[in-house]
Amino acid sequence: MNGTEARTIAAPDLLEMCAAHMRAGGRMQMAYVWFPQAGATPEIRYLASQGANQPFALWCCRPQPGEALPSLAKISPLLGWYEREITELGGVHFDGHPEPFPLVLHEGARSTLPPLDPRYPADQPVEFEAAPWRIPELGGKDVQLLPFGPVRADVLESAQFLFFYIGEGIIHYYPRLFFKHRGMERRFQGLCPKLGTVLAERVSGVGSVAHALAYCQALEAAASCQIPERARWLRVLLAELERLYNHLHYLGYLCHTTTLKVGEAEGRLLEERAKQLNAKLTGSRLLRGIIEPGGLRRDLDSAGLSDALEALRREFADYTARLERTDSHLDRLISTGVLTRKVAVDQGATGPIERASGLDRDLRRDHPYAAYAELPMTVALREAGDACARMQVRIAEIETSFALMQRVLLLLPAGPVRTDCHPIAASEGLGWSESPRGSLYYAVHLDQNGKLARVKIKSPSFSNWRAFPFTVHDSNMMDYAINEASFGLTTAGCDR
């Protein structure tokens, strides 16, 4: 696979490999299962980062039929969810898993074969009969349980939260996710690669560009396709426009949770302006239908965009200067929902969340794609790990986005924006992008006919939802909404 150092590892050596990798300061990124041939044993792949500008480590491990792999979740806790997902969707088991409970498929869901197995019929629904769930056992005098969701107040995504609490204090928090699991990865199987872009854009709606980008880059890597210069630069513009409207959204939404009403209204209005700019540029408020394997579907007319962005930047600067001077707002954010650096590393926090806890990582700088290598990048960092730090990181990232976009508009090379990207049969590729919520990976495998055989999506919200509960345990009810808003999680991206 491109950008990786691949090794085949025998199951008994996995634990030692992982431990050595962790000791050397590396971090696991994801694990997934795929079926090289129908009926053959599945292969597990582990992706690990070895530092900036170093290739990723890729470990391939093929267990014997019926053989269980050692669970790595004890040394790298962030792998816990990946392993559970592999068990439920791919049928490979792990020995000694610290959390051996259903995750993606809810209790009561049954299928004849693992749903990702190519022999499982594409349109056969899982059998589902609601069954009691396993919930944490937590007792004691006055401890109460509040289940909230999956249908939540206002216009929000579906998820269920269990709060164990005494008075205002939350003793333990347990989110129950994957109500929105649509089986998106399975839907890619058998598609022609070009159509996969339409699907990738609909995995996480507010991350359409990041998903299309990671997907197309994986395909282009598999096909050894070099896209035109102008397309690389315009992809940066699109990715930063997406970051802009997303970050503005969370700034306004954060004001909603601290009841700073005018701040909320102004934040939402700025987001709306950004979305209207998106539509004028691409025909889609969510920037869909423009990126394709081989470049862009059509050229963009960026006339007037520079001035419009500068006008928006001025309003944004005014707005955030006032936010950062508003004591009532800051009082609710400072020391709220602290994510320590250690938990951020162990549980796999990513994006603005990890950068607000002092982890200096950003795929745009560390593993540059599109035209990022040719652009100056400042990576915003804060150490506090609280809601305020997360807001400050987003503000700083918007400033960077404005600077990047102006530079792109200034230096944009002329030329074509698309080239043919012919898929190569039985090839594979890895694509990544730094979405507004953090690192996003697509691992794409093509079959003998050049159709998609397997697409694994590692979404940033899957990572951040895993880390989030650690900031809620032992906090209080009044801070919960603020904390959740500051994390900027999407359920769609996590559940897929």
């Binding site: 609601a130 089986g183 854009e201 709606g205 306004g252 939402r268 209207q276 869909r288 239908g289």
Partner: protein, 269 residues
């Protein structure tokens, strides 16, 4: 805090006067459903059908007179691929995004438009609710694109409240159930229970192509085909996602405060 109020007031009105007046609806440049021109269609070509991921375009199987293609806008995600692959311009990009209809059949392209959808309904809604409507939203497995646009309805530009339409947390206070997403197996029970918790009379809107037909997520091991066969639907609004102005038009359509603009899969002249 007072400073916020002061600066807020100095900025003047941000809200559009649309749809009461011809003011900006905020959707400049937004592409909608491609327009279909069957007379331009070439024989022996299926480029559009092959490029249509959700199966909104299918080549006619029966040899009958008239159009060669079955076009169902209830399945369209406005990805625009058909407009790019068609060699003859039988599909052309358009800004037709206000695709709210009362009858599902109105989303299917038809040479002759059938008229008289359930007009009686609007009269009843008007007399029951006057000009006010309370909406309970349920996400039955969307990609969050629909939610992003629904949340935009309450921003100062659209300011949905001015139209007497409100989102309510409790289904007990809701008149309309607004559903997004293709209905996953895990959300189905919660969705139906929310509907059952609503007092009668109650209405349902399938918002977004996923809720209308399942869209790109239809079927598979985890999804249904939208609300089809799960809840009775009063207004269908395909779109991927429907933009805030399309949502407003569809809500007003339900209330009988705006006309239905789409008949037989296209803008009624």
């Amino acid at each position: 805090m007072p400073l916020w109020t002061f600066f807020g007031l100095t900025r003047g009105t941000a809200t559009t006067a649309w749809p009461a007046s011809g003011a900006d609806n905020g959707q400049t440049g937004v592409l909608g459903m491609p327009r279909h021109y069957p007379d331009r269609c070439q024989d022996d070509c299926d480029a559009c059908a092959a490029a249509c991921l959700p199966g909104a375009i299918r080549v006619h199987t029966e040899a009958s007179a008239g159009a060669r293609l079955d076009v169902d806008y209830g399945r369209c995600v406005a990805c625009q691929l058909c407009t790019e692959v068609c060699p003859a311009g039988a599909f052309a990009p358009s800004t037709d995004w206000a695709f709210g209809v009362r009858a599902r059949t109105d989303l299917v392209w038809a040479a002759a438009t059938q008229t008289a959808p359930a007009r009686a309904l609007s009269g009843m809604i008007r007399s029951t609710f006057g000009r006010s409507l309370h909406v309970r939203h349920v996400d039955s497995g969307s990609c969050n694109g629909c939610e992003s646009e629904l949340q935009a309805l309450n921003n100062p530009f659209y300011n949905l409240h001015r139209l007497g339409i409100f989102f309510t947390p409790s289904p007990r206070f809701a008149d309309l159930l607004l559903v997004t997403g293709p209905v996953t197996y895990a959300m189905r029970a919660a969705l139906v229970e929310t509907y059952q918790a609503m007092p009668e009379p109650r209405w349902v809107m399938a918002s977004g192509t996923c809720a209308v037909s399942g869209g790109v997520a239809e079927g598979g091991y985890a999804c249904a085909a939208g609300l089809e066969g799960i809840l009775p639907v009063d207004v269908y609004l395909p779109g991927c996602p429907p933009n805030p102005a399309a949502l407003i038009e569809a809500l007003l359509l339900l209330l009988g405060r705006a006309p239905q603009r789409i008949e037989g899969g296209r803008l009624a002249d």
